[in-house]
């Protein structure tokens, strides 16, 4: 991760020096994860804003390239922080209430199922169900889950990005997983 961070810092430096390939390399490396995070945080009701927010995020990366410090955070954590802020700014502009996650929310702790269709997504329909279930999660749980599962961030990094304690990030992830298992298990049973 540290090597990646150094290399990404180099790419940002090269970008600032006018190397047009450097930013494209950086973009190609993180575009998917960044877009997925924005898209899932937005949910279905605001999906149309994802492209614009994604562009705003990358422009912010370009503008603030000089402020990235690999010693303080990984590039992914820095990027996701920007993306998350952009998304939350969008919610504020749209006057969407950002509901805090209830830590005591009684998510049923369904045990991990054995490797199953969940592990091997076999159909587009199933993939859509999974994504829909993720979008149904409370916002903060959703963000933690997406950054962890798809963005590859560690819990420590997620805690940094979201400005909470690591324990809080962990519990959000646990609740998110539990809810997903529950909702997907329910959907599976209805399909059978």
């Amino acid at each position: 991760m540290e090597d990646d961070a150094v290399e990404e810092a180099d790419l940002l430096r090269a970008h600032r020096a006018g190397d047009p390939h450097a930013f494209a390399r950086l973009y190609d490396r993180y575009d998917r994860a960044c877009f997925h995070l924005i898209r899932r945080l937005l949910g279905g009701a605001h999906a149309d804003a994802a492209e614009d927010l994604c562009q705003e995020t990358w422009i912010a990366v370009s503008r603030n390239a000089a402020s990235f410090d690999p010693a303080k955070a990984s590039f992914a954590a820095w990027l996701f922080t920007i993306a998350r802020h952009k998304t939350f700014d969008h919610f504020r502009r749209q006057r969407v209430a950002i509901l805090a996650t209830e830590p005591g929310e009684a998510a049923a702790m369904v045990p991990d199922p054995q490797p199953s269709p969940l592990e091997q997504v076999q159909s587009r329909q199933r993939a859509e169900e999974i994504v829909a279930a993720v979008e149904a999660l409370p916002l903060e749980q959703r963000g933690v889950f997406v950054m962890f599962a798809d963005g590859g961030l560690s819990l420590e990094e997620i805690a940094e990005v979201t400005g909470v304690a690591v324990e809080t990030a962990k519990s959000r992830l646990r609740y998110a997983r539990a809810k997903l298992r529950q909702s997907l298990a329910g959907e599976r049973s209805t399909h059978v």
Binding site: A24, R32, Q55, A127, E128, D150
Partner: protein, 292 residues
């Protein structure tokens, strides 16, 4: 909390796979072109943006200079045209405006007139020209419609108090093109007689502006005049680079037909070819002859 929480579980992997499966490659490619194009434009305009904080400083000077230019131009116009209706100023007109006690119109213009009075009229104009080159150049006045002729009718005469416009570039342009109507008329009469060509720097700035805006008619007119197609601006960027950064394939194709170089580099060492590669837009690449 167990290590289990910090490791990728089946549901995490399933979600990542689901996202991968649902990825729309066409949409992603379009997004890539759009985002990288926007970033390239951002980088391309960065010098202008970074120059903005300096403008307020030059602004004050710009207004003073504009006011003084207008004042001196008025004098010149009176001398050239000898307006019959202006006899009241005929004796005083021979003297510098600063010497006239009454007409000092506002505290802001008076010092400017004082400062400029001893200098020939070309002085302040010469100081303003580079600014105008960096900012948006005035609209093309070639075969342009009447509305594009520098907006002189709307430009305030010198004594008018400067209205803070929303756009500083507009102000700079206005400052350059703000001689009073009489002076503008005299200048037009002069230019129609002498057909004095604009300086190469001004023409190049017009070419750059037309390329960045994708104004094909203006580009065609300028290029047909023999304007240097690869003339760089202060950042070393050519019109072709401007058209690429603004993603105007038709303008880029036109410039290429006039021999614009893909290899010439800007001051950062980046060529037009590399800029196009970073944007990687199929239509733009085709326009540049980089893709079939």
């Amino acid at each position: 909390m167990s290590d289990h929480d910090a490791a990728q579980g089946p549901i995490d992997k399933a979600y990542a796979q689901a996202e991968a499966m649902l990825d729309d490659e066409a949409a992603r490619a379009a997004r890539r072109a759009r985002v990288l194009g926007a970033v390239a434009r951002e980088v391309g305009t960065a010098p202008t943006v970074s120059a903005l904080p300096k403008r307020p400083v030059s602004w004050a000077g710009g207004w003073l200079a504009a006011a003084s230019v207008a004042g001196v131009s008025t004098l010149v116009a009176f001398q050239l045209a000898g307006p019959p209706g202006m006899q009241r100023s005929s004796p005083a007109a021979e003297t510098p405006v600063a010497a006239a006690p009454a007409p000092a119109p506002s505290p802001t213009t008076a010092p400017a007139v004082d400062a400029v009075a001893p200098a020939p009229p070309a002085g302040p104009r010469a100081r303003m020209t580079p600014q105008a080159d960096v900012a948006a150049p005035p609209p093309l006045a070639l075969p342009a419609p009447p509305s594009q002729t520098t907006g002189a009718p709307t430009a305030a005469p010198a004594p008018a108090a400067p209205q803070a416009p929303a756009d500083s570039e507009a102000l700079i342009v206005t400052g350059e093109a703000a001689p009073p109507p009489s002076a503008a008329r005299a200048a037009r009469a002069e230019s129609s007689m002498a057909q004095a060509p604009a300086s190469p720097a001004v023409v190049a700035a017009r070419l750059h502006a037309a390329a960045a805006a994708g104004r094909l008619a203006d580009l065609t007119a300028l290029l047909a005049q023999g304007t240097a197609v690869d003339a760089p601006d202060r950042e070393g960027e050519t019109a072709l680079m401007k058209s690429i950064l603004a993603n105007h394939p038709a303008a880029a194709a036109l410039l290429r037909r006039y021999g614009a170089s893909l290899e010439r580099t800007n001051r950062a060492g980046v060529s037009a070819r590399e800029m196009a590669a970073s944007i990687d837009d199929p239509e733009l690449n085709r326009a540049l002859g980089l893709a079939p």
